[in-house]
């Protein structure tokens, strides 16, 4: 579903944020992307969702080159950033309808999915309000709903559980598992190692822009906990 080969990204000013990164996410995978602040997680995520241009490497979404067919690739992805800065001048429903138009979701399916997911995240009654009046958690929920209504093949989330109440976090985890069971894939970054440990079947650890560990969760952590492994890898740097 997602194949990254030798990705490098250098920011203006010479800072290399990602350095020769390669990984693969297959259909049905819940892939956890772990690293401390500034390790290159968000840069990688932004590059794979077309938000950030990159100089070296190749990113394939379901076999399609992101550089060559960006619009087609983006139509298969849903991206939820760590800080959901949405269009504050729109109401919640206007934003969801905007996303529905952009992803060309048929009217009946659109209405049905909006109703379903906004009920699930308990946001339906607030959909008529301007997004500027939403709390951080409500914006996060709206971003999640907007990502789910077009049934993406690849769901990319940057720190998705920050700001969510326990009920919404549980709903999201359940949805992630359901989506993967249906043959889609999920790639998400997190600081919360317990979540990664419980939810993911594959993980990758990034350190100073380079992958230091990648593979099946049991294979990567071995006998120790993910936390111990992570701390050990950081100490060695």
């Amino acid at each position: 579903m997602l194949q990254i080969t030798n990705l490098s990204k250098t920011y203006h000013g010479g800072k290399k944020a990602v350095d020769g990164l390669s990984l693969e996410v297959k259909a049905g995978d819940i892939f956890g992307f772990i690293g401390h602040n500034g390790a290159g997680k968000t840069t990688t995520i932004k590059a794979m969702t077309g938000v950030l241009d990159f100089e070296e490497g190749e990113i394939l979404i379901n076999g399609t080159d992101l550089k060559k067919e960006p619009v087609l690739c983006k139509s298969m992805i849903a991206y939820i950033p760590d800080n959901p800065d949405l269009y504050e001048h729109l109401t919640g429903i206007q934003y969801l309808n905007f996303i529905g138009d952009i992803f060309r979701i048929p009217k009946s399916q659109r209405e049905e999915r909006i109703q379903h997911f906004s009920d699930l995240f308990e946001l339906t009654r607030d959909l008529g309000d301007l997004i500027s009046a939403y709390s951080h958690g409500m914006k996060q929920k709206l971003a999640i709903i907007s990502a789910l209504i077009h049934e993406p093949k690849l769901l990319v989330l940057d720190e998705p559980f920050v700001g969510l109440d326990p009920k919404a976090a549980f709903a999201l985890k359940t949805l992630m598992q359901t989506l993967c069971a249906q043959g889609n894939a999920i790639f998400f970054s997190t600081h919360v190692l317990e979540v990664a440990e419980k939810l993911c079947n594959k993980i990758a650890i990034i350190q100073k822009g380079k992958l230091v560990a990648c593979g099946g969760i049991d294979e990567v952590r071995g006998d120790q906990s993910l936390e111990s492994l992570f701390l050990e890898l950081i100490k060695h740097e």
Binding site: Y11, H12, G13, G14, K15, K46, T49, G50, V51, L52, D53, P70, V71, L72, C73, K74, S75, I77, Y79, P81, N83, D85, L86, Y87, E88, H89, L90, G92, I93, Q94, N97, F98, I99, G100, D101, I102, F103, R104, P106, K107, R110, E111, I114, Q115, S118, T124, R125, D126, L127, G128, D129, L130, S132, A133
Partner: protein
Amino acid sequence: MNDLWRLLRIQLLGFFDINIAFHTRDRKVRIKKLLLSGLMLLVFLTIMGMFFMYSYLLASQLKKFGMISSMEYVPGWMMAAASLATFFTTVYKTHGVLLGFKDYEQIMSLPIPVETVIASRILLLYLLNVFYTLIIMIPAGIVYIMEGEPLTSFYVLFPVTLLFVPLVPIVAAAGLGIGISMISSRFKHRNAVTLVTSFLLVIGILAFSSGAEEMAIDFKTVSDVIMGALGSVYPLAILYMRGVCRGDWMAASLFIGVSILVFTGLVLLLRKHFLALNARMTAQPKTADYRLQSLKTGTPFWALYRKEILRYGASPLYVLNTSMGTVLGILFCISFAFFGQERTARLLELPGGVETIRTFAPMVAAGFMVLACTTDCAISLEGKSLWIMKSIPAEPFTILMSKVAVNLTIQLPAVLICGLSLTYALKPGPFEILLLFLMPAAYGVFIALTGLIINLKNPNFQWTTETVVIKQSMAVLMALVVGMLSIALPVGVMILLVYLRIPLSALAFLWNVTLLTGFLDFVLLYILKSNGARWINAL
């Protein structure tokens, strides 16, 4: 005091890109920012030059009519002009700079007294307005020194009083701005109320001051008439003039005293009501519980266009700043049709009379179209939501065209109204009629595309108040200069040809300008089509 300076510094760094220029690791960005700062300086110097020319022309007129003793009207008028400029630019800054600013919660959570926060906001407004005052007033002062034989006291009082000129207009504007925001906050469609009130206010003041100008136009009458006209535009200007130019220390002290007193009133009022006013301004109306209804669907372009239109309508500052030229154009053309060509020619005292109006009418309409556009800050206004534009599966060209479409939505009806009004008033031939519509339309498209390209190459996403990108950004300034040049160049060429006595058909010349502008529109469209995706990627 240290906290005050810190807060002020943070705001100033947000208003200008100096901080980025000094701290970026990217040499290219640094050079670009420094070059742009140089360009900005050049633009300000040019504006100062224009005010110098205006002051000098005013002084020459006074000299021509033997009114050398009345030369004090030069700094007097310019002081009134600076005060009006302060007033107009501050009304729209009240919400965003003084109150209801974006980082309000962050700032208010800091262990800093509220008084210091208030002082930092007022000081920022004050500094910005002192800057504008200097741009307008220094040329007037120089002209007065050159032509007016000033008293010794002028050299002391002129620089000192400069610092007090913006105070009263700031207070008046802040009072009005707060009033408008308070009234509109009671309504569900608060932005619409703000817009209507603001438009009525601006048109009302313009109508009032144009009435005053009509009174002042006849320099041959006694100076009392000029004094009366000046007093009707801005009464404090008379006190200022008496104090600064006639060496009346009492009047000067009174001017300074009134300014300080009024300004202190604003500070005290804000100190008392700052929290309540902000709470009122930032409060969001809560609608009744939403129930999902049937949704209207559309194409991606339609969705993007609707989103852009809603963005446009959500910011009264954006609407006012970008549509005022169009509204003034409509008002001008309608009043032209109403007054008729002879009376308008007489009123404007144009050399060549009716014939000049007939010749330049399409150019005048085009001039109103290029005064401002919505696209020169449309990219910057994406702000932190930029990730949406970059991650959605929409063609970059479609995204860009949705922004251009907003500009055309505002300008094309204006082109139609202006064209019809001018056709009615001038009763021209078929080719002239066509030109009345085509020339402003071509210019409207030109400025929309140019503005967008300029903003794509000079974006600013790190703003904390919309004012920074809508009113003061480099892209807006550059688009304004390009727009003015696009009108000034053909007019200049036309004047040159007439001066060189080269036979010229005005109609043919204007048709050529229109065709050239139309051609440029296609070139710009092609540039956007071929480079749009790359430029968006680079944002």
